[in-house]
Amino acid sequence: MSRTRSRVIGAGSIVAGAGLWELASRLLFDPLFLPPPSAVWGRFLELLADGSLLGDMAASGQAYGLGLLVAVVVGVLAGVAMAASTVVRDILDPWVSALNATPTIALAPLFILLLGLGIESKVAICAIVMLFPILLNTYYGFSTTDQQLVEVARAYAATRWQTYVKIKLPMALPSLIAGLRLAAAHGLVGVVVSELFGARAGIGLLIQSSAETFDTRALFVGITLLGIVGVAVTYALIAVERRVGRWRVAQQEGG
């Protein structure tokens, strides 16, 4: 009952918030700076109709996806290597720790300088901001694997590869997905910021060029889209996290 009540209040809050915003921007504020939701919706339909929005979404999505791919491949390989070998770990650790604490997004201008305004620089920026959460969580995941289960694999004459794929990977998976969740959020920032600087298409470009022309309705279209994508990605990965980590929780409760 109380849960239903919370949901009702939550839904009411969103509706009321949107209503208040609509009113405020019609009556109090300059709609130039705070356009009402209805105007944002109208602009959304326009941008959808002229096809530019889909183009922007495709461009951003492509850079994001490729960046994620690079980050996953490099991050997982490096993370596994760090977990597997203390020498590799000792060598990489100072760099990884330092770079993880650095706002690597600041490398964006350098990448644009090196790689130009095309998709390459966007992919590079997305990849670098997503890399460290994935790398570190892979490393944590694989270095805290249950040695007893690894010994089971050895006892049953598993090859190294089988041990990794059938024993270590499933154990590390929840940590990997947690890393992915962090990375997904970082990556959104990465793709937007890289496009803000200069791009031929993309949600970041939409936001930036809308800002330049004071088309704040389009700017809010971009930001709202980002929010929706952010929420969707976050909750999807939380769901995966729960699913994949279910046996962990069950294990803690059950035995």
């Binding site: 130039l32 022309t213 004071f214």
Partner: protein, 310 residues
């Protein structure tokens, strides 16, 4: 080798700044001088010189950015200015609701970006008009078309616009506060579309560059000939996709009023370079006091071109 005839140059969004290039292309001057021109569009002068640095283009623009890059890299990026087709930036100062410069204080003025050379010119203009640049809020609102949109939306009170967009602005109710060359004062020059190349490339490809500049010299001479007014107007209208009326107005402004945007012949203008240098210093973008404009310009190629064209 047919590649010996190819040059890649950067162009901006279609405005009047590339007028002589349009002419060279339309009238076949490039072909006549045996050069094939490829074009890459870039948003800002900073991006234009960036393409030179990475080798994606050979001919760029933007002396202000070129000077900064050359100074900051201690000459490793050996940018050099080889010609100044447009010596007096044909900007129109426009505003919505503001009529005199004193009233600009406390309002926002649209610029392309903080480090853009348009910004340098804007600050010089404000200073010469007795307005403290720090008292005006400079907002980065993008290129010419973006700035007009921002002004129409009400986000900025004034901005510099290039024709023909400036005429559109006036149609839409903006006030013309003056032409930049006039506002800056008689005799003031500023290398606005300064042609920039890598010195090393230029030395290695002297002949090609000279022929390229010769074609542009042909174009400038043709453009400055009042007899070609009608045809030039038509070329401009076609290249920038504007109405014949606006093209005519633009031509009037550039060649019949006092603006004198285009140089009569191709060549390096030392005063225009000085304008850039002092602007950079005013904007705090160049710290060393010793640099002289001669370090950044080389008129020998344009001189060669003038010899060719006679």
């Amino acid at each position: 080798d047919p590649d010996d005839n190819v040059v890649t140059m950067t162009i901006a969004a279609p405005t009047v700044t590339d007028f002589d290039d349009y002419v060279a292309k339309a009238k076949g001057f490039y072909d006549a001088r045996g050069v094939t021109v490829r074009r890459v569009q870039t948003g800002t002068a900073a991006q234009s010189v960036q393409l030179l640095a990475t080798g994606e283009a050979e001919i760029g623009r933007g002396l202000a950015n070129a000077i900064q890059a050359r100074v900051r890299t201690s000459g490793q990026l050996d940018f050099v200015n080889v010609a100044d087709p447009t010596v007096r930036p044909p900007y129109v100062m426009t505003s919505k609701g503001i009529r005199d410069f004193a009233a600009l204080t406390g309002t926002s003025l649209g610029i392309t970006s903080v480090t853009d050379q348009g910004t340098i010119v804007t600050m010089q203009m404000l200073q010469r008009r007795g307005v403290d640049p720090d008292g005006v809020q400079l907002l980065p609102t993008g290129g010419t078309a973006s700035r007009l949109a921002a002004m129409n939306a009400g986000g900025i009170a004034s901005t510099l616009l290039l024709p023909p967009v400036s005429f559109t602005a006036e149609q839409q109710g903006a006030v013309r506060m003056g032409y930049l060359p006039e506002l800056l004062g008689e005799g003031y020059q500023f290398s606005f579309t300064g042609i920039v190349v890598r010195e090393s490339w230029a030395k290695a490809n002297r002949d090609r560059l000279v022929r390229y500049l010769a074609a542009r010299d042909d174009a400038l001479r043709w453009l400055n000939d009042p007899a070609n007014a009608a045809e030039a107007t038509a070329i401009l209208a076609r290249e920038t996709k504007i109405s014949p009326e606006k093209a005519r107005q633009t031509y009037e402004l550039l060649f019949r009023s006092t603006v004198d945007a285009f140089a009569p012949r191709i060549g390096v203008s030392l005063p225009a370079g000085e304008g850039v240098l002092s602007g950079l210093r005013l904007a705090g973008l160049l710290h060393d006091k010793d640099s002289r404009i001669e370090e950044f310009v080389d008129d020998s190629y344009a001189a060669g071109a003038r010899e060719v064209t006679g």
